[in-house]
């Protein structure tokens, strides 16, 4: 009898843990929603989505989110441009070329890249990458999207390489044999058979990396600047959604004001982005699983 009750008790604790997680998520969404609803009572959604200026902290206030979105997408785009080719090449090398023993050493080492504190990356972008790039591109500003994006790209390489490698390893060995049996070189086997067969997994890895880059805060807050600007020019200071939230949350703005509520509006925008991306990757993964079973 005693054992039974203990079992029941343990189950209750486990259930409670799960419920707490769900409640937290619901709580966060609730706060985001209610605060931004108050915000949107004063600022129309149309202005929010179409105004091309974001100056809530200035005397002449504009509440157009577009500059922040453009800044976010610009740095993210640069990051993915760095991480996708490098990550994919690493994944192909590790799964198709590298000897087993070598792979066992390299893979954890690569994952260390994801474990470096992002503040270190931010510092690295500002103090090392920017000065280096300024030598090559003289008119580049001290704060810019390019260095932040490149460094962020390095940070998310392990997301792409690790998940893509898993996807490549999951391709049935019989396909590799078929390719070799027909006289494919290793290169042809990798790029014509293995990569296409693993493509859904690779796409998922890129989407998750993308999602991670969109939400990344420290690197862009340190190295990309704090000037919301609707531009595709990677050489000038910009501001991302995350960097703006940091800027306001640091405490200059009094609680409860419209200015303060802007961070919730910005936050929910960010949330919508990552939510959609995660769902796409979830959907692809589900479809992919069906295909191979």
């Amino acid at each position: 009898m005693k054992k039974r009750r203990l079992e029941y008790f343990i189950e209750l604790i486990l259930k409670a843990c799960a419920v707490v997680t769900i409640l937290t998520t619901i709580g966060i969404i609730w706060v985001l929603l209610s605060e931004s609803l108050t915000f949107f009572k004063e600022v129309s959604i149309k202005d929010f989505l179409t105004d091309t200026e974001w100056t809530p902290l200035f005397a002449k206030k504009h509440f157009g989110i577009l500059p922040l979105i453009s800044g976010t997408l610009l740095t993210t785009f640069i990051a993915v441009c760095v991480a996708l080719p490098l990550g994919l090449v690493i994944a192909i090398y590790l799964s198709q070329y590298a000897p087993k023993r070598f792979r066992k050493i390299i893979k954890p080492l690569l994952e260390v890249l994801a474990a470096v504190p992002t503040v270190v990356y931010g510092f690295f972008a500002l103090m090392v990458v920017t000065p280096f790039l300024q030598n090559l591109i003289p008119n580049m500003a001290g704060f810019n999207a390019l260095s932040a994006g490149i460094v962020m790209g390095i940070m998310i390489i392990p997301f792409v390489s690790s998940l893509s490698e898993d996807a490549l390893q999951a391709v049935p060995k019989s396909l590799k044999n078929a390719a070799y049996g027909l006289g494919s070189t290793r290169f042809q086997t990798s790029f014509r058979v293995m990569v296409p067969a693993a493509s859904s997994g690779i796409i998922v890895s890129v989407i998750l990396a993308f999602s991670r880059a969109i939400g990344e805060t420290m690197i862009v807050a340190i190295a990309a600047g704090q000037q919301p600007r609707l531009t595709a020019n990677p050489l000038v200071p910009i501001e991302t959604i995350t960097a703006y939230i940091v800027q306001v949350a640091k405490g200059d703005v009094p609680h409860g004001t419209l200015e303060y509520r802007t961070i919730f509006a910005a936050g929910i925008t960010l949330f919508v982005f990552t939510f959609i991306l995660n769902n796409i990757s979830f959907w692809i993964r589900k479809k992919y699983r069906e295909q191979y079973d």
Partner: protein
């Protein structure tokens, strides 16, 4: 010496090791051109390993080591100068389980040609049609060449794999238990196919199925524990084997 010309493959004192395991012991065997040779023997006797010696598919196994010489039309295929990818264009392979690529039927059959850099659409289409006809699959799939090969039945998938191997026009076709994953009707189709294909190709087939060996092959080689026990005309092997081991195996006393 004039006889030599009739042999396309030859293994000379071939020994294969997987780490400590001595998997093939001093194998000497010649394979006649345009014939079907069946490799039979109990599981683990080395027949599949021996099959893969000819297109060097064992090379990917870490602990694999080979001694001795293997010739194809006089060329030592384990020579350092030989490029494996070139070799495999001459020696096609069909595997135990159908393994079509997750691509369309057309792309599967055209794959071997495309990796050789052939882009001429008409030429590719011709070869695809021809290969599918040779594999007795054309009539079943000619209207949906764009359909995924994975959507076909197991027997059709295996014939796609045969067509895919034939498309590059190899001299030799290695088949590793090609019907073990198929139903009886598909098996009969593939066997019929083997009989037709030997007009143009040399076929080496590994099989667990004694009836299959006697139905499809001209010559049979019996392996046991890494040794080649007996190699002769299929009728002789099945009617009056010279060795007692062979006799025991084909009459089902062990294996």
């Amino acid at each position: 010496m004039t006889n030599e010309l009739n042999y396309i493959l030859e293994s000379k004192n071939v020994n294969v090791y997987y780490g400590e395991l001595h998997a093939l012991k001093d194998i000497n065997l010649k394979i006649q051109k345009n014939s079907v040779t069946a490799l039979i023997g109990p599981s683990g006797c080395g027949k599949s390993t021996f099959l893969r010696v000819f297109n060097r598919m064992n090379d990917y196994i870490d602990s694999f080591k080979i001694e001795g010489d293997v010739f194809m039309e006089g060329q030592n295929i384990y020579d350092k100068k030989v490029r494996v990818d070139e070799l495999r264009k001459n020696i096609g392979m069909v595997f135990q389980k159908p393994n079509p690529f997750p691509k369309s039927i057309y792309e599967n059959v055209a794959y071997g040609l495309k990796i050789q850099g052939i882009k001429d659409k008409e030429f590719l289409m011709d070869r695809v049609e021809n290969s599918l006809k040779q594999a007795a699959l054309w009539d079943e799939v000619k209207d949906d060449l764009k359909k995924s090969a994975l959507a076909l039945s197991g027997g059709q998938q295996q014939r796609i794999c045969i067509a895919r191997a034939l498309a590059v026009e190899p001299n030799v076709l290695l088949m590793d238990e090609p019907t073990s994953a198929l139903d009886p009707i598909s098996t009969a189709k593939v066997e019929e196919l083997i009989n037709e294909l030997k007009e143009k190709y040399t076929i080496v087939i590994v099989t667990h199925n004694m009836q299959q060996a006697s139905r499809v092959s001209d010559n049979t080689a019996f392996f046991y524990m890494g040794d080649l026990i007996e190699h002769a005309k299929t009728e002789d092997i099945f009617r009056n084997p010279k060795k007692e081991r062979t006799q025991n195996y084909i009459t089902g006393r062990f294996g």
